[in-house]
Amino acid sequence: MSQQPLVDQKFLEKLERLAIRWQKSFPGLVGGRNPSRFSGPGMEFLDHRHFHYGDDLRAVNWRAYLRFEKLFLKIFRIEPHAPVRLLLDASASMATGSRVKFDYARKLAAALAYIGLVRLDTIVLVPFREGLEPAFRCAGGRYRFAPVVEFLSELKSGGRTNYLETVRQFVSRYPDRGLVIILSDFLDDGDCQRALQYLADFGHELLLLHIWAEEDRQPPWVGRLELVDAETGSSLELDVDAEARRRYTAAFDEHAEALRRLAFANRGRYVGLSTALEIEEAIFGSLRQGGNLE
């Protein structure tokens, strides 16, 4: 059976109008689109300060000098290039569900990478399971998109998720802060919220894309079930009725709400996406309306 392409050409053409947006101010080289609180060689005036030896004479405010006979230096708001990193969950739990979450996450990652490439951003695709997997760095425009698709297509899901180890490796591998987009179902045996908090504390801006299948949130089964964890293989035998399903959904929603609170508390963003939602609808609906894309 032939494999379908991750994204088709018509969809890519629609994506060209979009750009990835972040809220935090990051230091970096000029050339970005999002304003930063850091000063630098920008166009928008920010402030004055006293001239110090070695400053660029071209930034001296000569009108102020004629008036006050003191050298003041004009400083400008920088619009830097911030690094964008896409953390893609490739654990076994992403391969469950009627519409496989891993495929959905790969398509979403491809779309976001294309948006970044079109705006000449530098995107780093980092799959993770129990730790970080070999990353793929893409930059240089839309014509570099084919290797991205190839990289994503060759990815296989499997293994267990370990957020703490993943974050530990991430902060040591990528010391410069930037936007971290995490595409995951955020299901692990440990406490993923603690790991995410560490990541936010390190200075990264978090964009949590919480992906779930419909039966992850509202399981359709009733009766006597033997449930097997896709990652650990451990099983649980229980009777499922309407009340149990209601409690399950409540627990899931509570988990999603905790993730949303964590993101907002750290000036990040959270978007919950069901795999029942089409990718195009997710991009132009949930993500764009939430201010994550412009």
């Binding site: 569900g97 519409r99 299948a213 359709p220 033997e226 896709a230 990652e231 649980l236 009777d239 795999t275």
Partner: protein, 641 residues
């Protein structure tokens, strides 16, 4: 509504038992479903201790309902639910259709077989739709064409495909078979109906034999005039090899005197003709003879119109005449000519010894008193061979010796009793191992025979120069030699054209070895008793009876016509009855019920089966029914691999 195959109690038992089994299996199968989930962490909050009573609870009642519905539909299909008037209880009838050879006869109303088919169809049309009918084709054998069948199309096809055979009707045997089949059918006994001409043997027609109950006859006993060949015999003349003796038997089956012309042709040329005058029921033999050395077809034809054409014509194959070619190398052919010219089976050729050719074509080579440079390729008779170069050792020479002993149990000495023949000169031969001493003179071997691929006879004297020349012993001895060396022309060969069925043949001497085969080499079973061979053949084909000294060919190409007309005794119902039951055909629902049951099983499988479970587990994304068939095929492929 009615059930054709099961009673209501049987249907309820089948559905009840099946349902109980289905529910039990359902509860066992659906007791616990195994699901692979992304995480168990949220299930812990929803967890309750398992309740064993859930094992007894129907969890997917639609699935169970579909399965039970499928079971009921399939059980009704097995029971052959039909829609239409019920009528009386179904009965099992046997339709005995006369397919004897006489059914090929034509009357003023057309072919008898066609009339019988039409009457049989009319009788079947008058039957209640639930009644079952077995079609039995009756000739010398009783052959069922169908089982007890309610499907009228199958019965109609069997009737249409019934054709006249080559044998006569054995009505008693057919009725017994039909009655036994009806009693073993298990249903309510119906009628035994015989449709046909009812032409039987005189023994059956005159004998009082018990008739089965419920017999109905539809006889086509129209008076028909027919005169036909009964048997043709073709035998080679014993005195003249090229002459054939033909005996033709003709019988008048009609009720009026018949005048016909009987003509024999061989290879298209007329070889005999006679006018035939036959009184009613008279059978007459006519003899002909003709000469032919060549092979060909002998055709006997009875000219004139009558009811049955099939017995007016017969063909027999005539083999080529084969004479024994004797090649004698002798310096004195005048001595040998009287010996061989008296035998009509021998074609003798004389050559001087100087013209000896070892590869000259011949059946038997005679070497008269000389030694050839190399032995000939054919069977050889050495006459008084020289001491040097003889095929056997010569120990000495006798003078005025008397032939005292003959080996009469050997083919060469058969029939020779002469003990007073005196030989002027004779060589004493020394037999090698395997050689047979045929004659002795003064207790010394003078004639030896050696068997093998090239048979050999050595005479230690010249028979035509001794006193044997004037005795019958000389031609008898040489006749024995030729029969032993080239037995083929001496074989008895007869050809007979006659009818199929049971027949017997006279074998003459009781042969030690006998084979009966068809023209394609298949063995035919037979019995033999006191020189008589008896066998049966239901089909018109060629049968060869092969014995060491004879070959009989039976061409069973003539139809077997029975002589008498059977008349049913009073009390037997006759004719096709008027239609007694509503004829609106019932509509068979079982194919649709079977299809609906299959559809239920398919729907249940697609909705709740392993395919659907796999889909819910996430192995197949999407829920569109458009792709159901493709996914089902993929699932089957996955299972098979």
């Amino acid at each position: 509504m009615s059930l054709a195959n099961l009673s209501l109690a049987q249907l309820l038992a089948l559905v009840g038992g099946g349902s109980a089994l289905l529910v039990a299996l359902y509860l066992l199968d659906r007791a616990r479903q195994r699901r692979v989930v992304a995480t168990l962490r949220f299930w812990v909050a929803a967890q309750r201790p398992p309740e064993t009573r859930h094992r007894r609870r129907i969890q997917q009642w639609r699935s169970l309902l579909l399965q039970l519905l499928a079971l009921v539909l399939l059980a009704l299909a097995i029971a052959e639910l039909s829609c239409g008037p019920a009528g009386p209880a179904a009965r099992d009838h046997v339709l005995i259709l006369d397919t004897s050879a006489w059914m090929a006869a034509r009357s003023a109303r057309g072919n008898l077989m066609e009339q019988a088919r039409e009457l049989a169809r009319a009788w079947v049309r008058g039957l209640p739709s639930r009644d079952r009918v077995m079609v039995l084709r009756a000739d010398a054998l009783a052959t069922p064409a169908t089982v007890f069948e309610a499907d009228r199309s199958v019965i109609a096809r069997a009737i249409s495909q019934s054709q006249p055979s080559a044998t006569a009707l054995r009505l008693r045997h057919a009725l017994e078979f039909a009655a036994r089949s009806r009693s073993l059918s298990g249903g309510s006994p119906g009628e035994l109906i015989f449709v046909g001409a009812g032409r039987v043997s005189e023994e059956e027609a005159s004998g009082a034999w018990p008739l089965p109950a419920g017999l109905r006859t539809v006889l086509l006993n129209q008076p028909l005039e027919n005169c036909g060949l009964r048997r043709i015999g073709l035998v080679r003349s014993t005195t003249e090899p090229a002459r054939w003796e033909v005996v033709v038997s003709v019988r008048n089956y009609g009720l009026r005197q018949q005048r016909r012309l009987l003509r024999l042709t061989f290879g298209g040329a007329p070889v005999g003709e006679t006018e035939v005058w036959l009184a009613p029921a008279q059978e007459q033999q006519y003899r002909f003879s003709f000469r032919s050395r060549a092979a060909g077809w002998l055709e006997a034809r009875l000219w004139g119109n009558d009811a049955l054409q099939a017995d007016d014509h017969a063909v027999l194959e005539v083999p080529e005449l084969h004479l024994i070619h004797v090649l004698a190398y002798t310096a004195e052919p005048e001595l040998w000519r009287p010996l061989f010219s008296s035998n009509p089976w021998v074609r003798a050729e004389y050559r001087p010894p100087g013209a000896f050719d070892p590869r000259a074509p011949a059946d038997v080579v005679i070497l008269d008193g000389f030694r050839p440079p190399e032995p000939p390729a054919a069977h050889t008779v050495w006459i008084d061979p020289p001491v040097k170069g003889a095929p056997v050792e010569i120990r000495g020479r006798l003078t005025r010796a008397k032939l005292t002993r003959w080996r009469t149990d050997h083919a060469l000495g058969a029939g020779i009793r002469a003990h007073d023949l005196e030989l002027e000169q004779a060589n004493i031969l020394v037999p090698s191992p395997g050689d047979v001493v045929i004659a002795e003179a003064s207790a010394q071997p003078v004639i030896l025979a050696r068997d093998g691929p090239r048979k050999l006879v050595v005479l230690g004297f010249h028979p035509q120069r001794s006193s044997m020349r004037y005795e019958v012993t000389a031609p008898l001895l040489f006749a024995n030699m030729l029969r032993w060396m080239a037995p083929e022309p001496f074989r008895r060969w007869e050809a007979h054209a006659q009818s199929a069925g049971t027949f017997s043949a006279d074998l003459g001497d009781e042969p030690a070895e006998l084979r009966v085969i068809t023209e394609d080499g298949r063995l035919v079973p037979f019995t033999r008793s006191r020189g008589q061979l008896r066998l049966f053949s239901a089909n018109a084909h060629l049968i060869r009876v092969l014995a060491p000294g004879s070959e009989l060919v039976f061409s069973l190409s003539l139809p077997q016509i029975a002589e008498a007309q059977w008349e049913p005794p009073p009390g037997v119902r006759r004719g096709v009855p008027a239609r007694a039951f509503p004829t609106r055909p019932t509509m068979a629902l079982w194919p649709w019920l079977a299809l609906a049951g299959g559809a239920c099983i398919l729907a249940e499988w697609l909705a709740y089966g392993p395919f659907q479970r796999a889909r819910v587990d996430g192995r197949w994304a999407g829920s569109s029914w458009r792709l159901a068939a493709r996914r089902a095929a993929a699932f089957v492929k996955e299972r098979l691999s």
